[in-house]
Amino acid sequence: MFHAQRPDRAAAQLDSSPTTPHSNDKPDLAMSLHGLSKAYGGRVIVDGFSLDIPRGQVLGLIGRSGAGKSTLLRMASLLEKPDSGEVRFCGEPVSGLGGEELLRKRRRVGVVFQAFNLFSSRTAGGNVAFPLEAARRPKAFVKERVAELLGLVGLADKADRPVSRLSGGERQRVAIARALANEPEILFCDEATSALDPETTRQVLDLLSELKERLGLTVVMATHQMEVLRRACGRVAVLEGGRLVETATVRELFADPRSAAARRLVAEPAGGSEAFHG
C-alpha cells in the first residue's frame, strides 16, 4: 500500500530536481554511478566504474570472483565510501554525506546478502521491524508494516519464528522483506541466491521478479550464476578487474558476447554455474 505512492513521489522529484544537469538529461534514472574507484592496501578493486541505472530495470552484474562486484555494490548502497567518483540517487549526489543525512539515504536502498545476515537475536518479524525502528517509525506502524511485508514474501504465518528455525529459502525471504521495509527505490542483491539450492534459487528469483512488478522496484543483482541472469534480469553489466567491460541485454549477451570476459562467463556449461566460483 505504501509502495503505491511511489510513482507520484517519483514524478514530484523529477519536477523539483532540475539542479544537476545530469538529472535533466536522463530524468528517469534510479541511480547513476560516476567513475567509482576503490582500492584496498594499494590494490585497485574497482577502477573508474560508471553506469546509469534506469528506474524499473533489473540489472545483472556479472564477473568472476574478485572482479569487484561486491565492492561496487557496497559503494552503490552507501556501505562503503568510494576513493573517488560519485553515486547519485535520482540525479542527487549522495557520496560524501555523513551523519543523519547518510543514514536517511541508506534507507532509500535495500540490500540482500548472500549469507542472509539475519539477526539471530530476533524473530523473523523482529528482523523485518529493524529498519523501521531505525527510521524511528511509530510502533503501531511498524507492526502493521511488518505483517504486510511478511505477507508480501509469503511468510505471514512465520512472524514469531526465530530465524534459526527457518529454511534457507525462508531466511532469504525474510531478508528480502527486511530490505524492502523502508520502501527503497532500489534493491541490491549481492549473490542473494548463491547459498541456495537450484529449486529455492528459482523460487527466490521469481519472488524478486514479482516484487519488482508489484512495487516498481529497480533491482541490481551481483551474481556469478548465469541462471540468475536468464530468469530475472533484463540487462547485464560485465565487470572485469574492477572495470566495466560490457553492457548488453541478457539476450544479446548470450547470443553475442562482445568482451572476452563475457564470452568466458557465457561459455560456462548451463548446469555448471555452481562450480564457477574458482
Binding site: R106, F119, S121, F130, A134, P162, R178
Partner: protein, 217 residues
C-alpha cells in the same frame, strides 16, 4: 557440625557480599570499557588504532598484576573511596579493579565474535552506531557475554579468598586464620567445600542463563 555451620555463616555472607558488589562494580566499569575496546579496534564502529593500542596496553598491564600486589598498591584509592583499607567493603575496591579489565576483554571478544555481515545489514538498513551497538551487537553477543561474566564471577570468588587474607573476611579468611593457623582441618575443609559449592552454583546458574538465551533463537 552445628559449630562448623555457625562458623561458616558469617564468612559465607561476607564472601557473597564481596563477590556480588565487586561483580556489579567490575561490570559497570568493564562493560563500557569493553565496548570502547571493540569500537576503537580494527573493524569496529569508529576505528582509532592509536587510542586502541594505548588502551590495550593499559588493560594488559592491569590484568598482569598479581592480585595481592594490586591490593596493596590500591590501598590509597581504597582509603579514599571507602575510608579504610581493611574489611569486606574495602576488599571490593581491588576486586573490582582486578575484574574490570577481564570483563572488558570478555565484552570486547564477545562483540568481535558477532558476524560482520550483521553490522553490514544493520548499516544498510540505515541504523546509526548507537543502535547497531545496542539493538544488534549486544543482543547477538549476549550468550558469549553471559558465559564470560560467569568466568569473571568465579575468578572473583578465588580473588575474594585472597582478599580475606588482608582482613577482608569471607571464606578464604576463615580457611586461613581459623583452619590453617589454628590447626582446625575440619574448619579449613568446610570453608573450602563452601567455596567449591559456591563456584559450582555460579557456573550452573551462568550456563543455564546462557542456554536460556540461546534456546529462544
Amino acid at each position: 557440625m552445628a559449630e562448623l555451620l555457625s562458623l561458616l555463616a558469617r564468612p559465607l555472607l561476607e564472601t557473597l557480599l564481596m563477590v556480588a558488589a565487586s561483580t556489579a562494580a567490575a561490570s559497570a566499569l568493564g562493560f563500557p570499557l569493553g565496548v570502547l575496546l571493540y569500537a576503537l579496534g580494527s573493524g569496529g564502529l569508529c576505528e582509532r588504532p592509536l587510542l586502541k593500542r594505548a588502551m590495550d596496553r593499559t588493560v594488559n598491564a592491569l590484568r598482569s598484576f598479581p592480585f595481592v600486589i594490586l591490593m596493596i598498591l590500591l590501598f590509597p584509592l581504597t582509603r579514599l573511596l571507602v575510608g579504610t583499607s581493611i574489611g569486606t567493603a574495602a576488599a571490593v575496591v581491588p576486586l573490582s579493579v582486578a575484574a574490570a579489565p577481564f570483563v572488558a576483554r570478555v565484552v570486547e571478544s564477545a562483540l568481535a565474535g558477532v558476524d560482520r555481515g550483521l553490522v553490514d545489514a544493520a548499516t544498510a538498513a540505515g541504523a546509526g552506531r548507537a543502535r547497531i551497538l545496542l539493538a544488534v551487537l549486544v543482543p547477538e553477543a549476549a550468550p558469549a557475554i553471559v558465559s564470560g561474566l560467569t568466568l569473571a564471577v568465579i575468578s572473583l570468588v578465588g580473588c575474594s579468598a585472597m582478599a580475606g587474607a588482608i582482613g577482608g573476611g569471607g571464606l578464604g579468611d576463615l580457611a586461613l586464620r581459623y583452619g590453617y593457623q589454628r590447626f582446625r582441618a575440619d574448619v579449613m575443609a568446610a570453608a573450602v567445600l563452601a567455596i567449591l559449592a559456591l563456584v559450582e552454583g555460579i557456573q550452573a546458574a551462568g550456563s543455564m542463563a546462557a542456554r536460556r538465551i540461546a534456546r529462544k533463537r
